[in-house]
Structures are given as C-alpha cells and as structure tokens.
C-alpha cells in the first residue's frame, strides 16, 4: 500500500474514533429530553415536592442550585482573579511561585468528594456554619478556585506584552497598566472561565452532599445559614434512595439540571466565539 493510500485510511479511522468520542454526549442529551420532556409542566418547576417527593415539583431544588452557584462565585471570583493577577503580573519565577503553581494544579485534581470532606470539617464543624448554604457555597468556591485562577491567568498572559510595554513606557504605574490595558483586554477570557465554573458549581453533587443538601425541604431558604435542596442531590436522592418514583419524573429532573448547566455553558461558548472574532492583535 502506498503512503497516500494508507494516509487516507488512517485519517478515516481517526475520524471514526472522534465520532465515537463525541456521539455519546448527543445520545445522552437525546435520551434525557425524550424521556423527560413529557413530565415537564409549569407545576413541576414552580412548586415544592409533595408526598415524599413522589408528587409536586422541584422549585426549592432549582432555587437552591442558583443560590449555591451565586454564593460560590461571590467567594471564588475575586480571590481567583486577584491570585491570577498576582501570578501573571507580579510574581517572578521563584520557589514561592512554583509552590503556588504546584498548589493550584494539585487543588484542581483533588476529587470533589475530598472537597466535600474538607467543607464538612472546616465550614460545617470548625467554623460552625452547620449544614448551610454558606458552608456549601464556600466548599464549592474552593473547588472552583483553581480553575478560575488558571483560566484567568491564561487570559491575562494572552494580552500581548507589547501593550504592557507601551503603557509602562508612557510612565504609567504597574497597577495603572493592569487596570487600564491588561484587564480590559483579558476580561472576556476571564469571564469565559468564570461562567464555565458557574456551570460546574451548579452540577456538582459530592461537595454539597454533606455540607448543605437537604433530602427534602418543601420550602425556600430564608438565610445563608439555612439548608437547601439542590438539583444534583435531588436527582441522586430520587434515583437511589426513594422507591416508586416514576422514571419520567427522574428524567425530568435530570433534564432541568442538564438545561441549567448547558445554558450556562452555552453562554461561555458564545462569549469565547465573539472574543475570538473580535481579537485582532
């Protein structure tokens, strides 16, 4: 077989592998929608569960998930973005920054359930927040931190050095340079990373399992020290803990969760595409 022929065959095989990798995601989304859409009613998304979660809706879980997403970002975003600025704009390459870098990649790889343990011990027990929205949001935010730092740092380092040099050569200070030249140009990239993590905060289960989640709580939270329901834990509970729940209700819950997460991701993808089109340096 000559080189060109074997090349064609190999590329076809690679394409096949790629399809096998990407196709399941569409299958999963398809299955969830097909089986769940029938059970989605206005009542389902606007009322609390009744009858041991076998009837009624999932409103408290939706609200709880949004509370956790927002809460997690309140902590993680400022801390993460500032850390990224430090690492990219101020820190040189020395032992300390290497340690920080190592810490960040390690944090990014820690299993989510270990974050759950950490949140349980530190926020629930040590700081005595109890199982609460506060403890859960803090736990999620620490889990989100490394990714936000990494994404922000990448966005910052994509701003051309020449922009910084121009600003400095005009006598601007370091912070002025960051504030007026670097940050505005890195912002879309930073936002992309943040939105991605909002989605992850909404979909994670293990870290909130013992820090915030209520099994069933048919009313909405009033303060950050309340427990709340959340979509992922709710799906877990009705799938494994509660017998005799209609499969369509479970699929519908999965569909709502998937919708929340995918819509958030969709925004992130749109933002990045716009960013790529706009960038011209």
């Amino acid at each position: 077989m000559n080189a060109q022929r074997s090349e064609k065959l190999t590329f076809a095989l690679l394409l096949a592998a790629t399809i096998i990798v990407v196709l399941p995601v569409l299958v999963i989304i398809g299955i969830v929608i097909k089986n769940g859409v029938g059970a989605i009613t206005w009542e389902f998304i606007s009322t609390a569960p009744r009858d041991g979660m076998r009837a009624g809706g999932i409103l408290p879980a939706i609200v709880g998930t949004f509370c956790l997403m927002i809460g997690a970002m309140l902590f993680a975003v400022p801390l993460g973005v500032f850390s990224a600025i430090y690492l990219n704009e101020y820190a040189g390459d020395n032992l300390l920054t290497r340690l920080i870098r190592l810490a960040i990649i390690n944090l990014a790889g820690v299993p989510s359930v270990v974050y759950g343990l950490f949140g349980l011990g530190v926020f629930v027990m040590f700081f005595k927040f109890g199982t609460s929205i506060l403890a859960g949001a803090m736990t999620l935010s620490i889990m989100n931190l490394p990714v936000i730092i990494t994404a922000s740092r990448e966005a910052l380092s994509n701003v051309p050095q020449s922009f910084r040099e121009v600003s400095l050569s005009l006598g601007a200070t370091r912070w002025q340079t960051i504030r007026h030249v670097v940050l505005p140009n890195a912002l879309p990239g930073i936002l992309t990373g943040i939105i991605l993590e909002v989605g992850r905060a909404g979909g994670e289960t293990a870290p909130i399992l013992f820090t915030v989640a209520a099994f069933s709580l048919p009313f909405l939270p009033h303060s950050v020290f309340d427990q709340c329901m959340a979509l992922p834990t709710h799906l877990y509970a009705i799938s494994t803990q509660v017998p005799n729940i209609g499969l369509d209700v479970r699929y519908a819950t999965a569909m709502v969760l998937l919708a929340v997460v995918l819509i958030v991701n969709f925004f992130s993808i749109m933002l990045r595409m716009r960013l790529r089109r706009r960038r011209q340096w």
Binding site: S162, S167, L168, L170, G171, Q176, H180
Partner: protein
C-alpha cells in the same frame, strides 16, 4: 572601549558610563560609555544581536522587566542617575519609546494619544483635546487623522500607526524619544514620512534611533554609533562614520560583509 565623546561643550542629555548588561550569564552590553547630546538625532547601527535594542531598553528601564537581567554602570539623565535618583514612572515619562512594530492599543486614535496624560491625572476633556491635537501635529499626523479620531487605531495604515506611537510619546511630553527600528515594517513612502517627522522633532527633542538600515542612519542622524556583539565600536558624525570609519569592523559592516 571607547573614550566618552565629550568634544561638545553642551552637557549630555543622556550619559552612560561603563554600562554593562547581563542576561543570566550572557553579557549583552559591554561597558558602554556614550554621551547623547541635547536635541541631537543619534543613530545606532549594528548587526542582529549586537546589543542595540538592549541599550535602548536600558535607557528607560524597560529592561527591568526581563527576568534574569543584571545591570552595572551608570546612566544619567540631565546629570541624575536613572536607577537611583529618578522614580521609574518619571523616567519613562521623560524618555519615551517607540517599538519596532507599531503597537496601537486596542482603543480609538484619540484614546491612544490621551492614554498617557490620563494616567498622569489630566482628566479635563478640553485640555486633553488640545494636547492630543498638539502631539498629533508634532508627529505630522494631524491632517491625516483629524476626522478619524474616534476610529479604532488599528484601522490606520502601518506608517500612520507608527507616527501615532510617536505622538503618544510626545503627549506625555517626553524629552528623549527612543526608537527601535521604527520603519522595519513600513514601505518607502511611509518610511520617509516617519523620517520627516523625526527630523522635525529634533528641534525640541533628543532622539535615539536604532536602525538596521545603514542608509537610514546616514540620511537623518547627526551622529551615528556602531555596536557589535555588545560593544560600542565607534561613534562619530554621520558624514565621517560613513565615509571614513576609524575602525576596520565598522568599515566591514557598512560595506555589508556581515549581517
């Protein structure tokens, strides 16, 4: 080493003494002693990696940003040591820099020129407008862009962008302007417009022009310095250096034996 050229009676605007620069273990500049006079246009020529750009970036301390950099010796601006006596922001305000490729910031023409003054606390719209006009005028760009001030600076042609960068340095009232091969990306017409702008600026500014085109240095510089492998080989009036160089290596470079 070359003795500092002090034949002129006016004190130097910028003076370096035994200036050496290392990148980690590699010495990029070797004991440079050079006086740059008030309101002269000093050309710097030399092959790639001869230290021209390093020299330029040392004069306004942009070199500080390079990891692993080490500097020894002195640089004085109007007699004051730039590493000790002058805050770095002030130094960079007074000693402006124009880079090899034009770097318009991603904002409008007006905002580009106003960027520096705004950082120095000028917020008054009218004062800014005047300053912008003056600077663009001095960079020989006003007529071409006066109706396009709100357009993104990226829309200008290469030659216009480069003059915009000069105007930007003028807007913070730079006294010394450093230019690092400013015409390397430009066509002949744009090149001659930038050159004309530089010659016009000479009246009130000290200009240091690094160039890889020997003819450009010969055309517009008052004096020319020749760098080779981190050393200052010689510096002399352009008429002399290009016709009767004192050093064999300068002659070799001008005749194009290397580079």
């Amino acid at each position: 080493m070359v003795a500092p050229n002090t034949g002129d009676s006016t004190p130097a605007k910028v003076a370096t003494r035994d200036l050496s620069v290392w990148y980690d273990d590699e010495q990029a500049l070797k004991s440079i002693s050079l006086d740059i006079r008030h309101n002269e246009l000093l050309g710097i020529i030399g092959p790639a990696n001869s230290g021209k750009t390093t020299f330029l970036r040392t004069l306004n301390r942009l070199i500080d940003r390079t990891p692993g950099i080490r500097v020894s010796g002195q640089v004085r601006l109007d007699g004051r040591d730039i590493f000790q006596d002058i805050p770095v922001e002030e130094l960079r305000t007074r000693v402006g820099m124009v880079f090899a490729l034009p770097v318009p910031l991603p904002m409008s023409v007006f905002d580009n020129v106003a960027y520096g003054p705004r950082r120095h606390g000028i917020g008054n719209r009218k004062a800014l407008a005047e300053l912008v006009e003056e600077s663009l005028w001095a960079a020989s760009l006003w007529d071409e862009v006066k109706d396009r001030l709100d357009e993104p600076a990226m829309n200008l042609s290469g030659g216009q962008q480069q003059r915009l960068c000069i105007a930007r340095a003028l807007a913070v009232q730079a006294e010394v302007i450093l230019l690092d091969e400013p015409c390397s990306g430009l066509d002949p017409v744009s090149t001659s417009m930038v050159e004309d702008a530089l010659v016009g600026l000479k009246e009130n500014h000290t200009i240091v022009l690094v160039t890889n085109v020997i003819a450009q240095a010969a055309r517009i510089s008052d004096r020319t310095a020749f760098f080779l492998m981190g050393e200052l080989i010689e510096v002399d009036g352009a008429d002399k250096l290009f016709t009767l160089p004192a050093d064999e290596r300068t002659a070799g470079y001008i005749e194009g034996r290397y580079g």
